[in-house]
């Protein structure tokens, strides 16, 4: 029984850490939407108008999804959105590298300004692994509950 409680506690910590990371990333960018718009624009994928729109929207989406993980409300929705976001961020980062663009990811505002490509990608993969682990854990729990 104590073993189960420990495992549950570990999963809860993972919720808090992953949620906290996205809340931090969102807050940092929400304070500097103009700079974040430039960071998005640097990827040379979207027109400026859409970059500005995303710069106002994405930080709040990250904050709300992070809160969803921490508060365990709309949990699966938050996990799904964050997983999709990390996949997109990783994809565009790789695409930018392939196209030879020398850019900062802007993921954590100024804090990520000097991150290397490999450092950025490694963090993305760690977060993605954590999100997928949480996703499969909660979906398997739901399946078990439905079966019972």
């Amino acid at each position: 029984m104590a073993e189960i409680a420990k495992v549950k506690f570990a999963w809860r910590i993972m919720d808090l850490v992953v949620g906290g990371v996205f809340i931090y990333a969102g807050v940092v960018k929400a304070f500097q939407p103009v700079r974040f718009a430039s960071d998005i624009d640097n990827y040379k994928i979207l027109p400026w108008t859409i970059s500005v729109g995303l710069a106002f929207y994405l930080p709040w989406l990250e904050i709300l999804c992070g809160l969803a993980l921490i508060l365990r409300r709309l949990y699966l929705g938050g996990l799904s959105i964050l997983t999709a976001l990390v996949l997109i961020f990783s994809g565009v980062t790789i695409a930018a590298k392939v196209r030879g663009l020398d850019i900062t990811c802007g993921c954590f505002g100024h804090a990520s300004q000097n991150w290397s490509f490999s450092g950025h990608l490694a963090l993305d993969l760690v977060i993605l692994a954590a999100l997928l682990a949480l996703y499969f854990k909660v979906t398997s729990e739901n399946r078990l509950q439905n079966a019972v």
């Binding site: 624009d41 400026w48 108008t49 729109g53 106002f56 929207y57 929705g77 799904s80 959105i81």
Partner: protein, 137 residues
Amino acid sequence: MRQALVLAALALLPGIGQAIYFRDKVSWQSPIPASEMVTVAQARAWDGNVIWVDARPDVEFERDHVPDAVPLNEDRWNELLPQFLATWSPEKRVVVYCSSQSCNASREVARRLRGEAQLKDVFVLQGGWEEWLKSRK
């Protein structure tokens, strides 16, 4: 799926609020602040007090350019910058242009002129070469 949609919709609210709050601090049309942009008509009104800088690739500059424009692109920055500086004088305004509204070369060149060459009164031509051609017709 429903939960994701709810979160996506909820995030719109603060996003819209922030966009309204920042409405005077960011342009939705261009990454360049309005104060650093200039229209063809405005630049022409400055008359002889303007140095036109063509930030397009050499091939496009050789094909055609604004009369008396100086080529200054990032491909040959180190080579072309001294030539540009030789024509520059403090009382003149610098207007940089590239191909069209969507190109980035003019704002990059303008940024470098302000940053690296420490020049003031550097502007980006709204609509670039395309707009210049339209105004010529």
